[in-house]
Symmetry: D2
Subunit: 379 residues, 4 copies
């Protein structure tokens, strides 16, 4: 099993996201880290890359240099991860796709719906993989939930309830801390705060597990800390194409909730519940029956849950290995196996459309708003 060749843009020294991706890519030995443009300061980026073991000729000063350098090599990288500031994702992702590289882009994939649609088209034309890092969808028990839904084990889905609420931005005294403030400042974060930051993970999860897409929505956005221009709490009701009703609450001022990301799916013949702080269990209740605790690693799980787990039952696997699971999926997809399960460019643009729809709805007192990218409205 030869390792695939992997490079990274962004994720420089001191970032949280750099180590997370490097661990994810390398944990299972599927990728070798051999190229990088890690910092917006060229020299720092080259030096850091070399300290991480990258050869001098592949320790690049910026992404354009990296694109130029890698494009014509025989041993060019098989995958590039884009973990730069949000506003640059579109340009970089597009350029690498057009040059024939597979890309894993951090979320948000783009800042506008139009850009997002362009990425979808470019990816399609190129035939390359364009994945977006909705990594929570790669927890084994989330995959089990999706497989159960697909397999009809809870019947037609009536209702999905997804929350992603924490309290880490609840301290008004801390609101001017730059580490926090930018998230609620439209000049830096764009049109949405907490919904775009966390809520969109919950919305992707709802689509992913239900295997369905959000069609329209109604949003209630509030800034509970007055100095904030963007919302720090939001409630979004939605409807999916298949008729499923959705409820989504996201907050950053829910003091005491740590990483309150959970999903509940209720179908005609059963219900499923999963929470990210206890990711190795999935609660399943058949209608009229008792709640059962499904454990990661138990016998008889669906294949997609089975293959994304490394250690036996009740040995917990956590967030960094969910990221690693995305890389496992990428390695398989690059090897020509299925791309099913990988959050793709369509997922990226759908998220962007949902953010724009939610902002529009919230500004109109919750008016129901089409949440689909134009390109997917003819469906």
């Amino acid at each position: 099993m030869t390792k695939l060749k992997w490079g990274m843009i962004g994720g420089g020294e001191g970032s949280q996201i750099g180590p997370a991706h490097r661990l994810g890519a390398q944990a299972d030995g599927r990728f070798a880290f051999i190229a990088g443009a890690l910092d917006h300061r060229p020299e720092e980026g080259r030096a850091y890359a070399r300290r991480l073991g990258i050869a001098a000729d592949r320790a690049y000063g910026d992404w354009t240099e990296m694109l130029a350098g890698e494009r014509d090599r025989d041993d060019r990288i098989d995958l590039v991860t884009v973990a730069t500031p949000n506003a640059t994702h579109f340009e970089i992702t597009k350029a690498f796709l057009e040059a024939g590289f597979n890309v894993l882009c951090e979320k948000p994939m783009t800042m506008t719906v139009e850009e997002g649609e362009e990425i979808v088209r470019v990816a399609e034309r190129s035939g390359r993989i364009c994945a977006v890092n909705y990594c929570y969808s790669a927890y084994p028990m989330v995959r089990q939930a999706r497989a159960m839904v697909r397999n009809g084990e809870i019947g037609k889905v009536r209702l999905v309830v997804a929350n992603f609420s924490h309290g880490h931005h609840g301290d008004a005294a801390d609101a001017d801390n730059p580490r926090v403030r930018w998230r609620y400042d439209p000049a830096m974060a764009g049109i949405s705060g907490q919904f775009a930051d966390c809520g969109i993970h919950a919305m992707h999860m709802a689509s992913f597990v239900c295997d369905d897409e959000v069609e329209n929505l109604s949003a209630d956005f509030v800034s509970t800390i007055p100095s904030r221009e963007l919302e720090d709490d939001a409630m979004v009701n939605f409807r999916m194409s298949g008729g499923t009703v959705g409820r989504l609450w996201t907050s950053s001022v829910a003091i005491g909730r740590q990483h309150g990301f959970d999903i509940q799916v209720f179908g005609e013949t059963g219900g499923l519940r999963w929470a990210s702080e206890q990711p190795n269990q999935l609660l399943y209740t058949p209608v009229g029956g008792r709640t059962q605790i499904i454990e990661k690693g138990e016998a008889g799980l669906h294949e997609d849950a089975r293959r994304l787990s490394r250690v036996s039952i009740a040995h917990p696997e956590g967030f960094p290995l969910a990221v690693a699971n995305i890389y496992c999926d990428l390695a398989d997809a690059i090897a020509g196996e299925t791309r099913d399960g990988l959050p793709d460019a369509a997922a990226g643009v759908r998220s962007m459309a949902a953010v724009h729809a939610a902002v529009a709805s919230a500004r109109k007192d919750g008016a129901w708003t089409d949440a689909r990218p134009p390109m997917f409205r003819q469906e």
Copy 2:
């Protein structure tokens, strides 16, 4: 400590509510059960009352007979509980209040807002107690939460999230079962299904714990089982007079949730979380600090939590004793002590106004709607 004299209307043989009230009233020895009109069939009601130890002359055939019989006695009852079908609550409650009796009315207090306002006025004129059985508010740790909010221990409340979602009506095959069907049939249940049945408990709880009132709301109602005319799932966003933002989800098709009634209150300096299936604990997180588990019965609780608990720390007390706590409060109030804590007629009419507002909002795609009874809009 002489026992107070208590009578009951409704709650006949085979009902669930009759034993619950009799246990609640008698568990702590505060009330003696001495009069009743327990059944809509006069003979059955009299016979059952006598089997329960009621003297023959106070085993009444119906509520008018009971009113006539009790009104002029020297030893007339101190409190009457009204646990008849919903549509009759108004008439009976009004008549007993006007005759100078204290009343505990099952929810809903009335079917219309106008009736509710009339009860408020009648109660005020009479000087008598008119309480509504929002018994979840009488759990000791709910009282602790309210006392902490009042005491400023979590600062100004920004956000309250209350859910009351279960899955016991999730089986479509069971939807025509008369025991279930009536709840979703406007001919029997009125204008609202699950929101009026369960959601309103959550809304009362939000007001109760936050010590504030709902001002306006936006609702999304759905019937996930097509044969149902009334909603079996609802999301309601609301705002309170003091500016608090509210989120309320209620469902009866959330298969796997048993009695998913919980409340989360987030203030400027802390958060509180409580769940009815684990009612003896309250989670408290000061901003920037660790979550603490507050236990019923621990040293240093607020007085209202302390006095409503019977057994020492970590000996669980459950739902029937929450009902008993309402009766303890009633006994105290009848003895002339504070009525604070007792859900009153104002709470009853506010709930009714909220139900009507939610129905109106849901019919207008979630338009924000004033949720206050007209009599309380000048505040």
Copy 3:
């Protein structure tokens, strides 16, 4: 349904146990409280009884007076509860049994094994009910567990693990507080501290759920606070008649555990787990299968679990109603129905023998010791 006539000895003003029994006896309307000798100070006892509504001629000054007074009445009490200091249980229980009364005795039934055996014989001769208040055994889900074991649903029981550990006596600074100290002082508590106080509940529970008896045991007792003469922490290994292996840990210095009473039963084909702080759920795992959450009030429970629950699924019922369940069982037994389920005098003497055996074993470095009362060794 005429109420049974009930009297109480002990449980005077300010005690915790008095209200608990009065609630338990009266909550379901099965017993009327009509006689009492409530205090060791005759006048205080009579006055308190009258305040609680006892007629003057049945408000007794002490138990001998009560025995004399009740013995020859036509309307004598149907049941007497003995809730006096431990050292008096034997004498009072014996006297009332011999006079033909049914008795509910607080634990410990006696101080010695010999006395316990005498109670067994007296109860047998009298034909009366002699019950001991092992009230935890009356939680509905404990009854469900026992019924499942009896019904073979987990196969032959291999192993039972019961803990009753809390931390409420863990503060050395509080050890001289009289409210705490007496429990570790042989002059007041007898030969055992924490094991006799709490551990014995766990041992009874193990026997009760497994439907089997402890045969021999090995104990390790320690006093972690040096000023204590009696143990505040104990581990007891035991074997039951049917071959089941037992493990029992009890502690009063386990700071952070509040009411850490739980039981786990492991058989050839399944396991059961229950905890007193979450008493309305029972975890059941069939061998090779998933853990299921059995809920109090769900459809299809065993009869003994069903009948001892008052409110529907997931409405919690707590400790005071477990006591009330003992009184329900007593009412049924007095009415001539089964005594099965009621902890009886044999259970009382077995507990006493186990305490003595554990003390003897602990003094001999854990030597295995017969834990059966002599009268039950021929079995």
Copy 4:
């Protein structure tokens, strides 16, 4: 940061332990995997090593070949992991230590106490690191617990209770399955079954967190499935050098427990509780105060907890990264930083002595037995 050079003996294709070590060593980029003798079948081992990217000249046929090959290289490996069958650990570990290599040995380090003592002496003479893979001790919150104990935050430790009980060998029908059977067969597993397999992890954890050593013990071993020669359930009481009382239960027939490894530590001024299935939280209760939930990643943790965590608060980290933490510690130790925290050869021989002492005690009806290796008895 140049990667350290790492090799592995054992962990061939299809093993669970091979991938776990490779992930652990490589996840954080601290080690490069460059040498291996992975299989007892030389050709298979060499081929598999090459498939994993090992150069041909360092893909060895067996450990003697690997020792010979690595010993004289300038670029010899910095660390070798020994993950071969238990009976071979002693010989290989000793040989590599003597040749000047750092070693991470799987548990058990040796089969006898004498061998264990020899490893301690060899390691000491060599100055090299000899670590044993008690990886549960490397969870961040276990490190937090130990740091709190060392820092006096719960006062002098009175009591430690450690359990490691699961039910995965509870199916008698599966007992003859070779994958299960060998664990209870002295010809293959040695003198102890479940205690040596799982219990010893709990005993190491108790020593590790309490920062103290087991001095003597009393054991009760049983085989609940008759065909088993070695125990499948054990209770061990022990005493530590500092006077701490210990309780340890381990079982493989506790059907329904999945990975029931937990530890509770009770001191004079507080208690700590941790469970391996929820490893990112630590419960802390100060005496007389409320239980607090300490979260991995929260501000103000002890350094040893902080540095062994990769992602922010409430993003779970699981078992594979606990293994990775051992490798982080090894990398630091090789770089000359502290070896504190690394389970060492002394820990390895102490475990072996405890196993032998427990077997001896169990054979003598629980007689208290010195659990220390002779070399540590003069302390």
